[in-house]
């Protein structure tokens, strides 16, 4: 570990600049209504430039010298715990920095166009800046505690942004839901830190990583599971996934920023950052794999049934993050691929969300795909950019998703016993389902017959919106090709996540690739038949039991309500009853008893000398009598 030098020594500016932007915009008042948004975008780009310079600086060094530590100040000097605030600038954190600042800044440029007529534009950009700053703090922190500060920061920013149009009660509820489910995850994070402190007395990454060797399996498993709970909350993984769909209530750039490119990836970051712990505990990794596999399957199934454009994309995000979590759970064979898929997914999913926003922009904010169709003729740029993202996510050979997702499927088939078959087949089949639901989404929106209502006049969005989409589309298409087959990604991350193990899948690499492509073609073909060639009914058909369940998010809300909300309600009700009757009753009864008896005793204080003397006399007699009896 080296102390930061050169550009890296001012690495804190990456966090400070967007934070400053948020403060200026929030405090600046109406005077900044015009210039404020531009300032916010500028500061976000400035953070990107610093990040880029730092990566170039790291690139110039030897592979083992690329990890730098920037000490900021002594933060918590408290007895056994002596924690400094510092930034860890290494391959993993800088990868995230580039993704967050580049995609984030593009989305902010897009927001300039998308939010142009919103009266609260200034507040919106302030929150975006706050979000970027928190996310950067999250990935740059050198300890779990400082990471937690950023972790909470993105939670707050997402709450503010999802509920940005909070005059609509449904949107405000969605914001609350996201916040609550995130709090459940945060509890896991706090517990993980508590166990770490109990076991090792350390909370910084370097200290924790050094202490893992020689720790009992049970402790590591407990920490791993708590970290997994934290990751589930932030990354919308099973069983804490239900907030992501509702979170689409926020303005579309928010969905793109938070729910595709950055915040939901924080859980994957946390697991990969804690790779030493997870590598040491096989059972914890198994739990991570199971969660990832369930989520990727559930997300894919939900994605097939949704008619809401953004909610279908959200289900897809859930599914793709499931792939990353599965990869992270596979251990050393998967860590690098989890991050690789995260980076490419950040590009193509952000691009598609922005495309969805562009479609909504042209369609009077409609989101029902059954009312779209045939938009390819009127929104050519959106169609092409969205199409590249679509081809990337279904794993069209050569595009980004092909390189990253196939690597995860391949890794899932590595191992012994039942695990490679279960996880591998889940990932493989879900890839086919992904191809189906993404094609369904794409065909229903851009292809086939026009099903618009008469009052909409679709038109292409302004350049501030389309240019970011184009850049992201280029990234979606070619980023995988640049980073994947050249091993740039795995080599770059190796010092952080450990040497990449070449696994031997139980099915050969090339047959596997062929099966994946065939499944993809089948998925696309079915979707083509149902949603392009045949007419799409405007009112959704009743559908099978599975379709209905998927429309209801596979009953996750009902489950949460039955398993947590109602028992919790009953518990609090009975506690309130107990509090009123027993606790308050006891306290009030005691007070009433003392008050009543004192009111009676008060009458003895009548001020008459004679009654006092009688009291004294009786007292003396009583004492003497008692004394006589004792004698």
């Amino acid at each position: 570990m080296h102390d930061a030098t050169g550009v890296a020594s001012v690495g804190w500016l990456m966090i400070a600049l967007p934070l400053l932007g948020a403060a200026v915009l929030l405090l600046g008042g109406k005077a900044l209504d015009k210039a404020g948004p531009y300032l916010a975008v500028l500061l976000s780009w400035a953070a990107f430039v610093i990040g880029l310079l730092i990566v170039l600086q790291l690139h110039g060094r030897g592979a083992e010298e690329r990890s730098m530590h920037l000490h900021l100040y002594s933060w918590i000097p408290a007895g056994a715990l002596n924690l400094d605030a510092g930034l860890l600038i290494d391959q993993l954190s800088t990868t995230f920095v580039l993704l967050i600042t580049f995609v984030g800044s593009l989305i902010m440029v897009y927001s300039l166009g998308y939010m142009e007529h919103d009266p609260d534009k200034r507040r919106f950009f302030a929150y975006l800046n706050l979000f970027v700053a928190s996310m950067l703090l999250l990935v740059l922190a050198d300890s779990y505690v400082l990471l937690f500060v950023g972790w909470e920061g993105v939670g707050l920013a997402s709450y503010l942004l999802i509920g940005f149009w909070n005059w609509n009660p449904a949107y405000a509820t969605a914001a609350n839901k996201a916040f609550f489910l995130n709090r459940v995850g945060d509890m896991g994070m706090i517990l993980a830190m508590a166990i770490m402190f109990w076991a090792w007395g350390k909370l910084d990454f370097a200290g924790v990583n050094a202490a893992v060797a020689g720790t009992g399996k049970g402790t590591l498993l407990a920490i791993g599971l708590c970290l997994l709970v934290a990751a589930c909350g932030k990354s919308a993984q099973f069983p804490l996934q239900s907030w992501l769909g509702d979170a689409m209530a926020g303005p579309t750039p928010v969905s793109a920023l938070i729910h595709a490119a950055t915040m939901v990836t924080a859980g994957v970051y946390l697991i990969v950052r804690s790779n030493v712990i997870f590598t040491a505990s096989e059972n914890a990794r198994l739990a991570v794999c199971i969660v990832g596999a369930i989520t990727l399957a559930a997300g894919a199934i939900i994605g097939c049934a949704k008619d809401d454009l953004k909610k279908a994309l959200a289900a897809s995000t859930m599914s793709q993050i499931g792939y990353m979590v599965l990869a992270a759970g596979l251990g050393p064979v998967g860590y690098a691929f989890a991050i690789f898929h995260l980076v490419t997914h950040g590009f193509f999913k952000a691009g598609m969300f922005l495309g969805a926003g562009s479609v909504m922009h042209g369609m009077n904010d409609q989101v029902d795909m059954r009312r779209f169709g045939g938009l390819s003729t009127v929104m050519k740029i959106t169609w092409v950019t969205f199409g590249l993202g679509f081809l990337a996510i279904i794993g069209f050979p050569g595009l980004s998703g092909f390189w990253s997702k196939d690597k995860i499927i391949e890794s899932a088939f590595v191992g012994e016993g039942w695990k490679p078959w279960v996880f591998g087949l889940t990932a493989l089949l879900a890839a086919g389902v992904t191809a189906f639901y993404m094609s369904r989404l794409f065909f229903m929106t851009f292809m086939g017959k026009r099903r618009w209502t008469e009052d909409v006049h679709p038109h292409e969005s302004p350049l501030t919106m389309t240019v970011p989409m184009m850049i992201l589309a280029v990234g979606s298409a070619f980023l995988g090709l640049i980073l994947g087959p050249t091993n740039i990604m795995t080599d770059w991350l190796e010092p952080v996540v450990g040497a990449h193990e070449e696994g031997h899948p139980v099915i050969g690499q090339y047959p596997l690739m062929a099966i994946t492509v065939v499944l993809m073609i089948i998925g696309v073909a079915i979707a083509w038949k149902m949603y392009w060639r045949d007419d799409v009914p405007i009112t959704p058909p009743v559908g099978s039991a599975l379709t209905q369940a998927a429309r209801r998010d596979l009953g996750q809300d009902d489950l949460n309500e039955a398993a947590f909300q109602r028992p919790g309600l009953h518990l609090t009700r009975s506690l309130v009853f107990f509090d009123n009757k027993v606790v308050d009753g006891g306290g009030n009864g005691l007070a009433a008893g003392i008050g009543g008896s004192s009111a009676r005793l008060k009458k003895m204080q009548n001020g008459y000398v004679r009654s006092y003397s009688l009291t004294m006399l009786l007292g003396v007699v009583a004492i003497l009598g008692a004394w006589w009896v004792v004698q």
Binding site: K602, R610, S613
Partner: protein
């Protein structure tokens, strides 16, 4: 006549004194009741001194007389002051200590 008779007399005197203190309203009379109780106590002390053949009881009787004298001075002064303030020496009128 045995010494026990003096004790009985002392008890009778004390009871009369106590009854006066408890029952009468006039502060002067109450005061006299107190004096009667003190005298009854003194009689008991002296009698006990004779019974034991020691001087302790007589010494205490002497102290009681001294204290009683002093008390009378202060007490009468207080009663005078109350009388001048309220034109009454009834102890029931002076119940300002009541809550």
């Amino acid at each position: 006549m045995t010494l026990t008779s003096y004790i009985y007399l002392s008890v009778v005197l004390f009871s009369i004194g106590a009854a006066v203190v408890l029952l009468r309203r006039n502060a002067i009379i109450v005061f006299m009741g107190v004096e009667l109780m003190l005298n009854a106590a003194n009689l008991a002390f002296v009698t006990f001194a004779r019974m034991q053949g020691k001087l302790d009881g007589q010494v205490i009787a002497l102290f009681v007389m001294v204290v009683a004298a002093a008390e009378v001075v202060v007490g009468l002064a207080i009663i005078m002051a109350i009388f001048r303030a309220r034109r009454s020496v009834s102890v029931d009128d002076v119940n300002l200590l009541k809550l």
